[in-house]
Symmetry: none
């Protein structure tokens, strides 16, 4: 469906939509029980919502493709997760609150430790504290000077930071300087294409790295900077324009706030806990047509291979859902951005269970929320980037196409 046609169908219904993303929700069955994390969890409210609405399975990118969080979220937000793909550097920069303008190039920074011979001995500088990370980031921000190019550096967490290069004719096609292993020197940030924009950015990055080594020469741990994920910023059509919805984002982690900011959502301040996220929900729903609430801990448990912990995070979220019912969004969606089966300790390509409730959603016979039950649900299996049009339709926000 082209943006032109979709735009022509948007109306001004007041119905509100909540998108609750349990990161990495999808799982694989425990061989002992035949049940996934979601199917093992006691979640009476999710089951009640499934009974009151429809379930299905979504493919974040395409069959067989394991998504990163960036493209996976863009799909959920209704964007083409391949065509609208955004580099990791941009996500990191937006996630830590750096402003970006069209044409800026961002990269992720790892502070690292190099020895006297110039070899990398620790790619994370001994995981310096966030306070230390802020201190060395500020050293760089204050002291780096590249003629014709504005350089901004901001700390993210521990050894991680982000840098934004602003200037005429920059491009994102630059090779990582991070060698991805120790005992070797950092690589040069060489251009990946022939165009002058890549060359110009590679030169700026090389100058940045050379100056950083000078500036950090006296540091014990963080005496080197590794750059990766160079990406130019070409902002997508804002969410509000695309779907006619004012939107708020509630998330604990910078990356997800960055993804929301990237599509133009209002992003609430960093939340300290899942409880705080749900406490912020009623106000956000008051202010916006659409709220995105992100729970990270399901994914973290899956990545750690901790089946039981993933189960308990799902149960914890379920216990908070009366707050959602009280806030009363018209249409509620619960899903994940991708699967993170505890059995794999990683993201996976398996389709993700999704539940929709409210508005004109089909009330199917599904009585519980889980991978197996979702296979027979009325939503069927669909590409995640069509979730938004379906939610708009359920909310009565899309007019008829053609007479």
């Amino acid at each position: 469906m082209s943006q032109d046609i979709l735009s022509s169908l948007l109306n001004d219904s007041p119905a509100k939509i909540l998108l609750l993303v349990l990161d990495g929700l999808g799982g694989l069955p425990d061989p002992a029980t035949g049940r996934t994390e979601l199917e093992t969890a006691r979640c009476p409210r999710l089951d009640e919502w499934a009974a009151a609405g429809a379930t299905g399975l979504l493919d974040p990118i395409g069959p067989g493709i394991t998504p990163g969080s960036g493209p996976a979220h863009l799909g959920l937000f209704g964007y083409d997760p391949i065509g609208d793909i955004v580099g990791r550097g941009v996500l990191e920069a937006l996630g830590c609150g750096l402003e970006m303008a069209k044409g800026d190039v961002a990269a992720r920074i790892n502070f690292a430790t190099r020895d006297a011979a110039g070899l990398i001995v620790d790619r994370r500088a001994g995981r310096i504290s966030s306070e230390e990370g802020r201190r060395v980031s500020e050293l760089l921000a204050k002291n780096v000077e590249i003629p014709g190019i504005d350089v901004t550096v901001r700390a993210v967490k521990e050894h991680r930071a982000a840098v934004v290069f602003r200037g005429d004719g920059l491009g994102g096609a630059v090779r990582d300087s991070d060698p991805q292993s120790t005992g070797v020197p950092a690589r040069a940030p060489t251009p990946l294409t022939d165009d002058s924009a890549a060359k110009r950015t590679a030169d700026a990055a090389a100058a940045f790295l050379a100056q950083a080594r000078e500036i950090l020469g006296g540091e014990r741990a963080a005496n080197e900077v590794l750059l990766r994920g160079f990406a130019a910023w070409d902002p997508p059509v804002p969410f509000r324009e695309k779907f006619g919805l004012t939107a708020s984002a509630i998330a604990m982690y910078p990356m997800y706030r960055g993804l929301a900011r990237l599509v133009g959502m209002d992003v609430l301040p960093e939340m300290p806990s899942i409880e705080a996220e749900f406490e912020a929900l009623p106000g956000a729903l008051e202010r916006s047509d659409f709220v995105y609430l992100h729970v990270k801990q399901t994914d973290s448990a899956g990545e750690d291979g901790d089946f039981a912990r993933k189960v308990s995070v799902i149960e914890k979220v379920d216990a908070m859902l009366p707050a959602v019912d009280a806030a009363g969004p018209d249409v509620v969606i619960v899903t994940g951005d991708h699967s993170t089966p505890s059995l794999m300790k990683s993201h996976s390509y398996h389709p993700v269970p999704v539940l929709m409730r409210g508005g004109t959603t089909y009330v199917d016979a599904t009585k519980e929320f889980g991978e197996s039950a979702s296979r027979g649900g009325a939503l069927g299996r669909f590409p995640s980037c069509t979730l938004m049009p379906q939610a708009l339709a359920a909310a009565g926000r899309l007019a008829k196409f053609g007479a």
Copy 2:
């Protein structure tokens, strides 16, 4: 699948195909019973066909998109429902039997009533009789004269008629003169784009409206003409060429006969009843490779929010199906162009149950025809514009692609 590839696979199998469209067939479950209109209807023959063939769900346009009848039918007929979209004016003109050539522009007419101050007081001229409608349409047809442009007017029904403008360099991008409300004057039919074709057509429409006010000045009710749905006619690849099938259409309502004529089907005369439509079927199947039979009343009942009447229309159709078995088409498809849930009193975006029987159709385990059962059927869920290739394949009319 490109038209070139499809054409190269067509063979001259004699197998015949029936497409039975129950308009707005798809529904939503009655909360009291959990069953939709189709699931509530006692339709032993449809259930028998479902048991003897395969079921599935089709998406007329795309997830979340509620289709009008025009694009929805084009999809069923195997055309791209977005790329091949046709304006309502063209459908109305074709529907009432006006011939159109490439480049002609058509618009829908509402006869209306204006007061002495020029304000619209009734947008339907008191719903004048069809006889009155014919009389005033003929007044216009005889008396309007626009230099360099042929104007044809034909009555449709009651206060509705169609007009076709033929001349060099016309285009369809013209604003409706229908203000969509009363107590205001008609709007000017201004061009919607900068090109000369829109300007030329807008001028012709303005001249038509000015002359119509003169010609109808003495009428008590139909003293004004409102134009809407301007559309230029750019005929699609004919159905016969596209699918190698001679085709007949049986329908009660002008719009659906217009849609069939649009793709080049032979259109049988207006039918007075569902019974008459099924009586015409054997002859049509005798003469053609493909027959499209349209039942409108399911949609009308859904639009009226009359769940019970929609159920009874489905049961009435079911009772006529022995006539289909007697006529013996090789492949039979039963579906809707879109969903019209009685609970919504409108078209909706929900996928539509579809049943195919005969030829090499997979015989799945489905034993009844309904939304829930169709979800597990062998046809799966698919875009409506791929129905025709599947029907051709079941009928043995498509050769292997590649060696």
